[in-house]
């Protein structure tokens, strides 16, 4: 038997490394112990799979180090030893309802062993391309597949490849954008950590198609494990002859290296990324010229995102038409989403385009935590927008999502319930973009700052009549005037929240109320006299002694003193404290 511990960053954070050590300590010779990447069921981490040969016999979830003995007991023949930690049928659905292409090896193979990748049809697509296809044929296959950039913009991949291929130049570069910046998306990290060879193979096919001799992966500095596993994978691939000179004995040569980013969201913009690769401040260049004409070291360059590359080998092996058979008229194949926030089953979800938001959030994600009311889902991170409950049946495709004011983006899907203030949400994203603005162009540098200031005063209850209109004016001007994608999309969270939740803005500004009861400056706490039993607990725990009262008598909160920390509200056993 083989015990496989899921060891993605998430899993490790949840304790997977400790689980691994605990099992290792007691395993003896009863079974083989190994690791795999991220299966994407974050809500169940740490996950331990037990295989008999190639057959998965048990999937154990939320495993603790103390469960090690039970697991060994099971592999030694006690069939009921791990029943209490086995995945439920309901939770199994989370995976069964998905269609995995980009993530097909994630959580299945050991990402640190190239042999496991090869055993699962790895590098077969590369071999097919190098030995049987011309560059034009590869680009044609990708064109047939309808694959579009998964990083956010959704630009047809074949078009970029073709532009770079046709661009004049003696030396061309292929670049992978793994600077996953959306604070709430982690599919790229999962792919690199769990299936690095799939990325390498996809990149090599792209390099062959455009004629690049050198490939660079620009990875976020915050992803140390991804860098470690990719470094290892590149070394393995070089050793096996998949990388370097005369790959697989053909005339195609390509080298690959990793460049670690240093923390700047704007480097997700391709020209800023190139500046950063060149060791400069990551400030976007003027376009045109586009990277296909003048990119890295001013040579023709092509940049795609991790998930885009992760689909390539599958398309080559299964044919562009198979990929295109999934999805909608204008969006083909599958898309991975990072489902987080107030969701019951958070994790990575890969589904064919054309499903609805409801399918993802309720059918796969199991609905809202604590069965609260669904309010909105934020898609596309700081460049995207909030889609309200009434649009839950929106189809997942570039056009339909764009029509809502949000974007497909890189696939961040943050679910919000009625306790999330939408003005606060807009403020959160503007705070992010204002901090991450590179400072080059005026519209973004000062415009996002001013938008943030206006939002700050609204959530503080200092909003003024005309603020919504002022925000809108700024939004449209920044979209029009900003130099790069960061600035041009920064207003989206504000515009969508104004569009769908204007009443919340108005409540903050006109009535000085936060309907979600989230903005602390607009809240006040009070004791409901006939519910209060006079237990004195709140008075004792109040950090500023704002609550007074004698035992067994109703207490009173001094609103002048109260700092709105909410401690009393959370402590009271009799629900005698109300928040208004």
């Amino acid at each position: 038997m083989r015990i496989v511990v899921g060891q993605g960053s998430c899993g490790i954070a949840a304790g997977a490394a400790k689980v691994y050590s605990a099992i290792e300590a007691v395993i003896g010779s009863s079974a083989e112990l190994t690791i795999t990447g991220c299966i994407g069921m974050c809500f169940l981490e740490p996950v331990v799979d037990i295989y008999d040969g190639e057959t998965l016999v048990k999937r154990l979830v939320k495993v603790q180090p103390s469960d090690a003995a039970k697991i060994i007991d099971f592999v030694n023949g006690n069939a009921d030893a791990v029943n209490d930690i086995e995945i439920t049928d309901d939770d199994k659905d989370f995976l069964l309802k998905q269609t995995r292409i980009a993530l097909r090896h994630c959580g299945v193979i050991n990402p640190e062993k190239i042999e496991e990748y090869i055993a699962d049809d790895g590098y077969k697509a590369l071999e097919k391309v190098l030995t049987t296809m011309s560059a034009e044929e590869v680009i044609e296959e990708i064109k047939v597949s309808g694959l579009a950039g998964r990083g956010g913009a959704g630009f047809p991949t074949w078009f970029k490849w073709n532009a770079a291929r046709q661009s004049q130049g003696d030396y061309k570069y292929l670049i992978c954008n793994a600077d996953e910046g959306d604070p709430g998306a982690f599919m790229d990290r999962a792919v690199i950590e769990s299936d690095p060879h799939n990325l390498i193979e996809g990149m090599l096919i792209a390099a062959y198609a455009i004629g690049a001799k050198e490939a660079v992966v620009y990875v976020r500095a915050e992803y140390p494990l991804a860098i470690e596993r990719l470094t290892n994978a590149i070394r393995e691939a070089e050793e096996k002859g998949y990388l370097g000179d005369n790959i697989l004995g053909t005339s195609f040569s390509c080298k690959m290296r990793i460049k670690a980013g240093a923390g700047a969201f704007v480097c997700g913009e391709e020209t800023a990324l190139i500046e950063s690769l060149q060791g400069e401040r990551g400030m976007p260049r003027l376009k045109p010229p586009f990277p296909a004409q003048s990119g890295y070291w001013y040579k023709p360059s092509n940049i795609n995102n991790v998930e885009t590359f992760a689909n390539v080998s599958w398309i080559i092996l299964n044919g562009g038409e198979a990929f295109a058979s999934m999805g909608t008229e204008n969006s083909k194949g599958t898309k991975v989403f990072a489902l987080t926030g107030k969701i019951k089953k958070g994790g990575l979800v890969e589904i064919p385009m054309g499903k609805t938001l409801r399918d993802v959030i309720f059918d796969i994600g199991g609905g809202i935590k604590n069965d609260a009311q669904f309010k909105a889902v934020q898609m596309g991170g700081p460049s995207g927008g909030c889609i309200p409950a009434e649009l839950l049946d929106t189809v997942i495709d570039y056009k339909a999502l764009g029509a809502t004011g949000a974007i497909m983006g890189s696939g961040g899907m943050v679910v919000m319930d009625e306790s999330t203030c939408m003005v606060g949400m807009a403020q959160f994203f503007l705070d992010f973009t204002a901090k991450e603005s590179c400072g080059k162009c005026v519209h973004c540098r000062i415009g996002t700052k001013r938008m943030l200031e206006i939002l700050n005063r609204i959530v503080k209850g200092e909003g003024k009549e005309g603020d919504i209109e002022l925000l809108e004016e700024l939004c449209y001007s920044i979209k029009d005037g900003a130099l790069c994608g960061l600035g041009q999309t920064a207003p989206n969270p504000v515009l969508t929240t104004i569009r769908y939740f204007r009443n919340e803005y108005e409540a903050h500004i006109n009535d000085k109320k936060c309907p979600a009861k989230s903005c602390s400056d607009l809240l006040s706490y009070a004791v409901v006299a006939d519910k209060c039993r006079g237990c004195t607990l709140c008075a004792r725990k109040c950090p500023v002694d704002a609550i007074s009262g004698s035992p067994k008598n109703a207490h009173v909160i001094d609103k002048e003193k109260c700092i709105k920390c909410g401690a009393c509200y959370n402590l009271c056993k009799y629900s005698a404290i109300v928040m208004e």
Binding site: S9, A14, P183, G184, E222, Q278, R281, A338, T340, M416
Partner: protein, 162 residues
């Protein structure tokens, strides 16, 4: 990391890195990353030294060192608390965790406690969204935080130092 008490950094520590990268175009960020690993932060004299060896101007090196959030020009505490400010953490109450840290240690984002033990740094998404709210202290990740749990973690670390 000083060579003596003269407040000058030991520049020899970074020579190997510079030997390897100084002549490779576009390596400034890589060099700075190594320098930060070596010195714990980026001392100004080290930046000047890097400029000198790479043929950049000090202005350019400073420009790069201050652009990226990974780089710091001041030493950090023994425990670097990286508090995730991702969307999921925000939705699940990271603001309250930040307040708890401030209450417990008296430091805000970018500040270090007077005893030099703790530095708080708000960071973009750590990518552990399902465990939100999350913080990382040195290499350890702490998930599903509550204000009370956060304070307890910090108190335990403090107790370890006493």
């Amino acid at each position: 990391m000083s060579c003596c008490n003269c407040n000058k950094s030991d520049l020899s520590l970074i020579n190997d890195v510079l030997d390897k990268y100084a002549c490779v175009d576009g390596s400034l960020i890589t060099i700075l990353q190594h320098a930060q690993d070596i010195y714990g932060y980026l001392p100004v004299d080290v930046l000047y030294h890097i400029a000198d060896r790479t043929g950049s101007t000090p202005a350019k090196v400073m420009g790069v060192a201050t652009f990226y959030s990974q780089f710091r020009l001041q030493p950090v505490g023994k425990y670097l608390i990286m508090l995730c400010q991702g969307t999921a953490c925000h939705v699940n109450g990271s603001e309250k965790i930040e307040k708890a840290i401030k209450d417990e240690l008296g430091i805000s984002d970018g500040e270090t406690t007077e005893d030099g033990l703790f530095t708080l740094k708000n960071v973009a998404c750590l990518g552990c969204c399902s465990l939100s709210p999350v913080m990382m202290i040195n290499d350890e990740t702490y998930g599903s935080l509550t204000p009370e749990k956060t304070k307890e973690i910090l108190r335990n670390l403090k107790a370890k130092e006493d």
